[in-house]
Structures are given as structure tokens and as C-alpha cells.
Amino acid sequence: MQVGLTVNGRPVSVEVEPRTLLVHLIRENLHLTGTHVGCETSYCGACTVLVDGTTIKSCTMLAVQAEGAEITTIEGLADDGQLHPVQEGFWERHGLQCGFCTPGMIMSAVGLLADNPDPSEDEIRHGIDGNLCRCTGYHNIVRAIEYAAAKMRGDTPAPAEWEEVPA
């Protein structure tokens, strides 16, 4: 079947089987490999992308269901080389280690902050509980999202838990 959709602002049309998962269309047909696959039961969230502005797990959506949809993946987040504040937050606050869950985690954080610009720690933790990370213990992911939320509100982020040193 032919599926037409817009990915990161670019209209595309792709021939897929009905059974092709959206994540495979993104990764294998469009070669946008930042969206990852970590499980098959919708638990890990590594495949999280925005579909028409809301976060979904692209391993649990058929490509054909995305006909006409606007999709944003991690590759579409930075604006003209300028990191999205959430991406910046993850770098500034060591919100990642192996990086595999990171694109999905960042997309979830983007979705969270769109709905709730000033989330409490508890709201952040529940807002990303559909994304599993096995490296960080989430501590610095929460700090990264707090950093981004502050930046996006025009506030000064809280200082890091370590002495910040420019390399």
C-alpha cells in the first residue's frame, strides 16, 4: 500500500505492506535511524515520536495508520542546527549514558513540556514513565527536563549538581 505522510516537515510517500510498523517505515524506508526499537510490547518507549503533536510509540502503530499524519522524530527536533532546549538539557545535565533510550526519552519530554510548561518533579517522573532507561536511574533525566522547562519558560535553569567547567 502507498502511504503518504509528512515527516519532519518533508512530505513523503512510501510503499509498505499493511503489516509494516510505523517505526520500520521511519527507520528502514526513510533511513531516520534515531528512532529506536527496544521491545515489542509498548513498554520501553525507545520508539517514541510525535504524531500530529502527541507522543506515541511508533512500534505500536501501523505505517498505514499514519496516512496523512505529521510526524516529528528526533532528527526533526533541532532548528537549523540549534539544539532544542530538551536536547540541550540532556547534554548539560548528563541525561544520557548509552544514548539508546535517549531519542524516545527526549521526544516524551518534548510532549510533556508542550502540555505542562512548569512540571513538578513528580509530574516529570510520571510524564516519562512510558520510557525506560537502564543506565541513568532517571536522576539526571529529571534534571535535564527541569533544565529544559526553565529554558523554555525563559527562566534560568537551576545550577548543575557539579561544578560546571567549560572544556
Binding site: E40, T41, S42, G45, T55, T60, L62, G130, N131
Partner: protein, 286 residues
């Protein structure tokens, strides 16, 4: 991870969808896909035809119909959780929806899909049942209404015939207060319910004039707790009366052991959450 091949149609109207279902034995209805797609990816379910109702307009509304609230087949969990109408008139359901899955699942999954999937440990069916909702079911031959308490018939089995679609849930606006509480698999309110209960209570003059309680996670299906209901109707609105009624939570329930609890434990939890849900519902009703 990789489903078997299937044919796919995305009808533009509900009538078209019903015709396709009538003509194709072995077809499955796809709405949010949060239950169906994982089963297909694990090849536990391999329909020959998937009928995607996701493009049918008008099914994604929560509407105030005066004496009831209408919830369409494509209303997602996050809509249910954040609807002021539901928060006000069906607090239990809004609470259950907010504890269903995670953000991404709530953004895609539908309440009607959750009812049709009939998971033994799902949150929202308990609330829908306790709130005395009516399920509106259509086929190409017509439509019928099923009381929520009769809709889930067995382990992952609803009353839907293969050619039927659950198109609407009608939640009666019958006043009183409601609540849903549970113990989740990772503790607290996380994930599926190890055990949970939803209660609806109408209070009059210090007595419980009318009430309903439904359980999830305990038996073969989300279901009414008949023993509790019998005991609490007309009882004093006191902690003792509630505790006594809640003690009958497991009456008539075939309690199932699973990874998360023994029969003894789940029987105990059924009582605990029946009590907690009733207390919270009573507080909300006051």
C-alpha cells in the same frame, strides 16, 4: 515483533465498517491498537483482515447528553482522564484512565477498545461497570445495548460478536460520588492492577441509598462485586458498615493466581480495595 500478513481497510463510515465486518469472518477492528497490535506482533493473534475505524469521523467525542455522557469509540484514555465532564460526573473513570498505561498509551488507546479487549486487570472497565454504563453495540443488522456489567463475559472475552463494533459508551449522570483505587504491578498506581476496585455511592440522610462496586485484576474479568453491593445498599454511611460490606468482595468471584498474587492475597486485596474505593466514593458523594 513482526505481525503475520493481513489485509487492511480503513472505512470512511461506521456503516461501511460494519458491512466489511459482516462480509469477512476473521476480521478484527482496529481503533487505538494498544491491545490488538501487541498481540499481532507476538503472533498470538493473526487476523486476515484489519478494519481500521480510526478514520471514521465523529467517533472521538465526549458529549453531555443531559441524563448521560456519551463517549465515542475513538475517545482516547487521555481524553477521558482530562475531560472535566467525566472528572465531575464519573470521577472513578477519569481516575482509572489517568492510571492506564503510560502517556503514549493514553494518547493512542481508546476506552471502547479497552472494554472490547476485556483484559482481566484493566483499570477502566471496573469504573465503567461500577458507574452503571451502557454499551452501545452495532452490527450491519442493527444495534443493541448491553449493560456494562454484562459486557465482559470471561477472560479477555467481551459480549461482542465478531461482526459488531462497540460504538459508544453511555455513562449515566446519576449523582453521588465515585472512586477507583488499585495496587499496580510495580506498586502504587503503576501499570496493570494486581487488584483494584471502583465504587459509586449515592448518599441520603447518613445512609448509603444506592451503590455499586466493581473489581478488576482479581477474577477472570472486571466484574461487579455482588456481595458488597448487596451488603452496602441501604447501610449506614460508616467505616464499619463499609468494611463489613467490603469483606464480601470475593463472594462468587473465581479468584485467579498470577505472577502478582496468590488467590489468598488477591482475595484479601479485593476486600481492601472494595473498602478503599467505597470510602473514597462516599467522601466524594458527601
Amino acid at each position: 515483533m513482526y505481525p503475520r500478513s493481513f489485509e487492511y481497510v480503513a472505512p470512511a463510515t461506521i456503516d461501511e465498517a460494519l458491512t466489511v465486518l459482516a462480509d469477512n469472518e476473521g476480521a478484527k477492528v482496529l481503533a487505538g491498537g494498544m491491545s490488538l497490535l501487541p498481540l499481532m506482533k507476538l503472533r498470538l493473534l493473526s487476523p486476515e483482515l484489519v478494519v481500521d475505524i480510526g478514520r471514521i469521523p465523529g467517533l472521538d467525542q465526549i458529549e453531555d447528553k443531559g441524563d448521560h455522557i456519551s463517549i465515542g469509540a475513538l475517545v482516547r484514555h487521555n481524553q477521558v482522564a482530562s475531560s472535566e465532564l467525566i472528572q465531575q460526573h464519573a470521577t472513578a473513570l477519569a481516575q482509572a484512565a489517568s492510571w492506564t498505561g503510560d502517556v503514549q498509551v493514553r494518547n493512542r488507546g481508546t476506552l471502547c477498545g479497552s472494554m472490547a479487549h476485556a483484559d482481566v486487570a484493566a483499570d477502566q472497565p471496573a469504573a465503567v461497570i461500577a458507574l452503571g454504563a451502557t454499551m452501545v453495540v452495532k452490527s450491519s443488522g442493527g444495534s443493541r445495548e448491553i449493560a456494562a456489567g454484562d459486557f465482559v463475559v470471561d477472560v479477555m472475552t467481551s459480549a461482542l460478536e465478531p461482526d459488531e463494533i462497540l460504538v459508544e459508551i453511555k455513562l449515566p449522570k446519576r449523582g453521588g460520588g465515585s472512586a477507583y483505587d488499585k495496587l499496580g504491578r510495580r506498586g502504587g498506581h503503576s501499570d496493570y492492577a494486581v487488584a483494584g476496585a471502583s465504587a459509586w455511592v449515592r448518599r441520603e440522610n447518613g445512609r448509603i441509598a444506592d451503590a455499586s462496586v466493581a473489581l478488576t485484576g482479581v477474577g477472570t474479568k472486571p466484574m461487579l462485586a455482588h456481595g458488597v453491593i448487596e451488603a452496602i445498599q441501604g447501610a449506614d454511611a460508616t467505616d464499619d458498615a463499609i468494611a463489613a460490606a467490603a469483606d464480601r468482595a470475593a463472594e462468587g468471584v473465581t479468584v485467579l493466581e498470577d505472577l502478582y498474587g496468590s488467590v489468598e492475597y488477591k482475595t484479601h486485596l479485593a476486600k481492601v480495595f472494595a473498602r478503599r474505593a467505597l470510602s473514597q466514593a462516599l467522601a466524594a458523594a458527601s
